[in-house]
Symmetry: C2
Subunit: 397 residues, 2 copies
């Protein structure tokens, strides 16, 4: 029993953690509950729906299946569901008349079976088609599903036209309930999440660059981060999380395209630009990861060369991380980045100076070299970031 | 009309491409078609099912929703669906009796509404809980769904016990059809896909390492790859695809855990080890990506230092890529890697030699340094790979 109690306590702690991390999750659960209750109340109160009990249950099903966390995902699923159903209803009616051509009373079950097989196979294969997989995957499933249902029941139910009509109406009710609730009550916009994700990733880069600096030079002057082993592992983790964010970014950008204009986002917001920035951010994270690998190989006592380059490296880190933070902020607020250009050019100047120093100095050690060399690609990636970011801001304005 | 024709031709070309890339996709579509037709035939032929027309349609729905590409995913969804339904049926009955306690004839709609709200909210929130999200996400949706349906219909349908029973039976029929077909007809095992993915990623690393070598040293002796710009971009692409494979690997490993033992895979195959290898592979890809960034900064004419280290670098590349290929093969065939250890130790020897040379040589240029330095982490990652791979092989044997 004590073990059980501990487990329950752990679960509650986890739940609290989830809620603190993202209170919108509580809201989402609440919204789903509301939508479900509304829909089932509708079922209880309307006597006119007595005639098609089973059909009304489809509303409940629609609400549960179509209600996703972000508004964009919900709209995408709802639209897919509604249009898939409507299209399949029309096709199903056609299939029924085709099967009735044989002349016997009622449709021919063999022809119906063949039709189901063809639609099932083609529909499933269509889902592998990249463009459809990305945007209309769910609609295709619903199409095959509804088509089969209409065709199967056409064998038994007489008034198939009314059946299809009702199905489309019920799903429309479910879908509009879901869409309205997800957009009105504490909406979670995929677009906002995407912007936040990209800018948080940029911040993570800046932080781990700073962390590397304070760790490598045993210097807490760059930032008031206590340099210890845990810290390094944390930075590694955050870099790896940046690297693994591609799939998440892509689905958010996809859903963001479904969302109506809201807040600062216009209808034709360039969501794809964020993906490009994301790719560059991941490349940059790669460089930082390699840079972090140098931490262990640092020699104990600083050599002449190290002493000579330390100052420049530190300044480079400070300028670069400032530029990254500036970029993160400008993406978040969707303004033109101002001072980041200055920081970047500062960093570039330092690199040029450093190269000059290196060219004249005779004694230098391989180790620091690689460290400096690693900085150059980082800086170049950042300058790329800048240019792309500028164009994004121009478009988003 | 000509434009339309071209579009149609393009679509057909794409379809052919999909089929050539992975003929299993054709098979999958075929399997879904077969399952659908079987189930609907079942509906036409059995007169005993006349009594619950609507219920039988749930079989069709189950088939379409639960049939996934890999066997593991199908089994996972089927199990989730069946257990979710069964559990929800039991809870739904309980809810009905609770609502009937009020004493009036029939259950109290307000109590039912409150219950639906509670279950809907709690159920949705549970889906955010990491452990459940990973394995039982779909089961939770089905639970909430079935619970709501049972509760809603309990208000109208008298014999709710029979209703729930039939629902569980129909879904059981659908689920078993799907599971049998997905495991018997041309099965696509998630486990095999996972192994293939990891080993292909290793091969990609080896190829791009070789590609880098032949490009950097303008030498086609390492491999008969024609060094041109397209080639480099291709390697970059394959490295980026390795970096982005994390989500895919994780879902495959998750589904692989649901699959019954088959072929060389025992019941307790260490799928998680593959994820660890995958993480290391991605780290290695990071290093290679940075290495590739050095291609552009190469100076035109070789310096004294470059000439002196070229041979060693080339040998290092050859040994490393051989080791990687060996590892890829050993993962694919699930045998102990033999010669890869030799290759690794060869590479290590070369590195030691090189370090020694560098220590004594006076004139060397920063550029090559960084190249050599980048090799060291690659080699260290590979030695890590080796150790982990050995342990995997020991377990999988």
């Amino acid at each position: 029993p004590r073990k059980f109690k501990m487990k329950v306590e752990k679960i509650f702690k986890n739940i609290k953690q989830i809620g603190e991390d993202d209170p919108r999750k509580f809201w989402h659960a609440f919204k789903v509950g509301i939508a479900l209750t509304l829909v089932s109340m509708f079922y209880y109160s309307r006597p006119m729906y007595q005639s098609f009990d089973e059909q009304t249950m489809w509303i409940v099903l629609t609400v549960l299946v179509a209600f996703e966390f972000t508004a964009g995902a919900t709209i995408s699923k709802s639209m897919n569901r509604e249009f898939g159903t409507a299209l399949a209803g029309a096709f199903g009616l056609g299939a029924k008349y085709l099967a009735e051509l044989s002349g016997k009373e009622g449709p021919d079950p063999i022809i119906l079976g063949i039709l189901i097989f063809i639609v099932g196979t083609l529909g499933t294969f269509t889902r592998f088609y990249p463009h459809i997989k990305k945007k209309y995957d769910y609609g295709t499933v619903i199409f095959v599903l509804t088509f089969s249902l209409v065709v199967v029941s056409s064998y038994r139910i007489e008034d198939i036209l009314q059946f299809a009509q009702r199905r489309i109406t019920t799903i429309l009710i479910g879908v509009s309930t879901v869409m309205v609730i997800s957009m009105v009550v504490h909406p979670v916009w995929a677009g906002e999440d995407l912007v936040k994700l990209v800018s948080v990733n940029l911040e993570k880069l800046a932080n781990s660059l700073e962390g590397f600096g304070s760790e490598y030079f045993n210097d807490s002057g760059i930032k008031s981060v206590r340099g210890n082993k845990n810290n390094v592992e944390e930075f590694l983790k955050s870099l790896l999380s940046v690297l693994g964010s591609k799939a998440n970014e892509e689905s958010l950008a996809n859903f963001a395209g479904w969302e109506p204009p809201h807040g600062p986002f216009k209808l034709e917001h360039p969501w794809k630009e964020y993906l490009k920035i994301g790719d560059l951010v991941r490349k940059c994270a790669c460089h930082l990861l390699v840079l972090n690998g140098n931490l262990n190989s640092k020699s104990k006592e600083p050599t002449e060369f190290e002493r000579r380059t330390e100052e420049a490296c530190k300044r480079m880190i400070t300028e670069s991380s400032k530029a990254l933070k500036e970029l993160a902020l400008s993406i978040k607020t969707m303004t033109q980045p101002f001072s980041s250009i200055i920081h970047i050019s500062n960093a570039k100047n330092i690199i040029d100076d450093l190269k000059h120093t290196l060219g004249t100095s005779e004694t230098f050690f391989q180790h620091d070299e690689s460290c400096v060399m690693d900085f150059i690609p980082v800086a170049s990636v950042m300058s790329l970031l800048i240019t792309i970011n500028e164009c994004v801001d121009e478009i988003s304005k």
